[in-house]
């Protein structure tokens, strides 16, 4: 299935891009994708389709997944 990923701030710099579309196997979660892409899911929050979700959220084809590093506040 295809997942659209969004990277912000330190994660964006680490990944070298702001967004990408990734082909992943069914059963992936925000947590498993963070471990795979960034090496760790520590300190991250996740949003799917612009709403915060749990790290074990079951991703579906076409979802947009945002990796949210610690925020500074407005």
């Amino acid at each position: 299935m295809k997942i659209r990923v969004l990277y912000f701030a330190a994660i964006r710099e680490q990944m070298g891009q702001a967004e990408a579309t990734i082909e992943v196997a069914p059963g992936e979660t925000p947590s498993s994708m963070a471990k795979q892409l960034m090496g760790s899911d520590a300190t991250l929050l996740f949003a799917v389709n612009d709403e915060l979700v749990a790290k074990d959220y079951a991703l579906a084809d076409g979802d947009q997944l945002a990796f949210i590093p610690p925020m500074a506040g407005g």
């Binding site: 912000f8 701030a9 330190a10 612009d50 709403e51 949210i68 925020m71 500074a72 506040g73 407005g74």
Partner: protein, 139 residues
Amino acid sequence: MLIKLTSDVIDVSEALAYVRDPSCGAVSMFEGNIRDENQGELVLNLEYEVYEQLFTKEVERIAAEANEKWRVHEMAIVQRVGLLQVGDTGIVICVSSAHRRDALEGLSYMIEEFKKRAPVWKKERTDGGDKWINWGPQI
């Protein structure tokens, strides 16, 4: 309600004008500005980054909570994005109400929740180097 992201200098007068109303005896406003110093280091500038869609949703939720707790007439939130210099305004929140306590307490609630929940990141450039600011008392 006004929720605005802008890479231009924030126009505080515009945000205040948005919330003023003949039914409102009280208007409160908070500005978060870039300080010249943070944790002992001289600040050169800050890069602000926002997750726009989540920002808008989260601010709408915070505003709805404030509306439930206090009698708020109108609100305006303007967030700057991009490169900010010392003295620049990063965030403006305005609240209007018939009475002053609703305007003041509503404003305090908005700011506290906004600081916790708004998906905003800041990369600080100081004489000690660059770093992404984490949770903590920035303003």
